[in-house]
């Protein structure tokens, strides 16, 4: 029994490290595991299907909605100035209610409290478009989330989820994305599982999709319970993912298989 506990302690050891398990020198964006065609598609704005959502987002940005009659642009005057670098810092802890929020939740907060319009549904075309538009303003900028002060507890929660084994397959995120990246799962090369391309266009979805949707695809694969887009556990996990990808450039809208 004591041996068992010792074993568990050894296994858990790496989860308490303060530096990401994959050092900065070995960090690789998911796109680098894709084919040459896929990489070309992502880097060419005319070929990247995600740019359609960015364009749609730009129109929404300028359109007044809700009983306040304001457009996003009414308050955030110049998008590229006001929004540059914002996506690279998300998720953050919301000052007013101390909850951890991702970019989608931040945009919806402005919808409801500033524009006085109903919140947009998760994975709706409009929310994807606005998120893609906002994230695109940070393209090329290095991910740099804060995990200090009030963010710390959420970071810890996200890290614990990441290293815990879940589902009928009893696998952790780390089992695939830290211990087996570069190897093949059926026909797909496992990447390091970074969030920097999202929202991303997936050929399999034939649509843009959020990071939450991608994470749910992994949870589905291991036959685990789903996490809803607004589940604080999921946002905490997104915060941990952003931290372990610290320094990788924002690619949104990325293109993936």
């Amino acid at each position: 029994m004591r041996i068992g506990i010792l074993l568990l302690a050894l296994l858990a050891g790496n989860t308490f490290a303060q530096t990401p398990a994959i050092p900065a020198s070995e960090l690789r964006s998911g796109v680098s595991f894709g084919s040459a065609e896929l990489r070309a598609m992502q880097s060419d704005d005319f070929a990247n299907p995600g740019m359609l959502w960015v364009e749609r987002g730009q129109k929404l940005w300028q359109t007044p909605v809700g009983s306040a009659g304001r457009a996003c642009a009414s308050c955030h005057s110049d998008a590229s100035l006001a929004l540059k670098g914002v996506a690279a810092r998300y998720p953050v802890v919301n000052a007013s209610d101390r909850r951890v929020i991702d970019l989608e939740a931040r945009i919806n907060a402005c919808r409801t409290s500033q524009q006085k319009a109903p919140a947009l549904a998760a994975e709706s075309e409009d929310l994807l478009a606005l998120t893609a538009f906002v994230a695109h303003q940070s393209r090329g900028m290095p991910l740099a989330v804060s995990i200090s002060d009030s963010a710390r507890a959420f970071f810890d929660q996200g890290r614990d989820f990441y290293y815990a084994r879940h589902g009928q397959m009893d696998l952790s995120c780390a089992d695939c994305h830290e211990h087996n990246w570069g190897r093949k799962l059926l026909a797909e090369t496992i990447s390091q599982g970074h969030p920097n391309a999202y929202p991303a266009y997936r050929l399999e979805w034939q649509s843009l999709g959020s990071l939450a949707r991608r994470i749910r695809a992994c949870l589905f694969g291991i036959r685990a319970q789903m996490l809803a887009s607004d589940d604080p556990q999921l946002t905490a996990l997104e915060l941990f993912l952003a931290w372990r990808a610290d320094g990788l450039p924002v690619e949104a809208p990325g293109v993936r298989r």
Partner: protein
């Protein structure tokens, strides 16, 4: 419970602990089995495994899906992962009881293994509703898979 004397003491102790758990927590879905050394000698069912069914299970996307991680020597299979070793020749490396334990619960052989336990329901967390309380494979399916593995010489 017999534990092979050749096993290192630490491993043996850990295995006894794990084995006890497996027996105690057995339920109607995955019934008790007995680990001897690093294998399960007695088949899980009274009817013998069928290698043809086992082969189909191992290649099937919805069933065992072993080809996610292993290649098997079968020209009909185009895609296979490489996380686990190729299974060609596995019957030369491992006995039938050893193969059975590895399919039933690889984590008893290597707690850090990425290979799922195909016949275990206890100790699982946040399992999707549809799979709760059920092992990935039934006892008969385990025997079918083991029967196919034992032909891989």
């Amino acid at each position: 419970m017999a534990v092979a004397p050749s096993l290192r003491p630490a491993l043996a102790v850990a295995m006894v602990a794990l084995t006890m758990e497996a027996c105690l927590a057995a339920d109607a879905q995955s019934s008790a089995y007995r680990v001897e050394g690093d294998g399960i000698v007695s088949p899980l069912t009274s009817s013998a495994g069928d290698p043809a069914r086992g082969r189909a299970l191992m290649a099937g996307r919805d069933a065992a899906n072993c080809v996610l991680c292993h290649s098997i020597p079968d020209p009909a299979i185009r895609d296979a992962g490489d996380i686990g070793p190729a299974l060609l020749g596995v019957a030369n490396r491992l006995t039938v009881p050893q193969l059975r334990l590895r399919v039933v619960d690889m984590r008893q052989v290597n707690p850090r293994s990425i290979m799922p336990s195909y016949y275990r329901t206890e100790g699982l967390v946040l399992v999707a509703q549809a799979y709760q309380g059920k092992p990935i494979l039934t006892a008969q399916q385990v025997e079918d898979v083991v029967a196919y593995l034992s032909t891989l010489r």
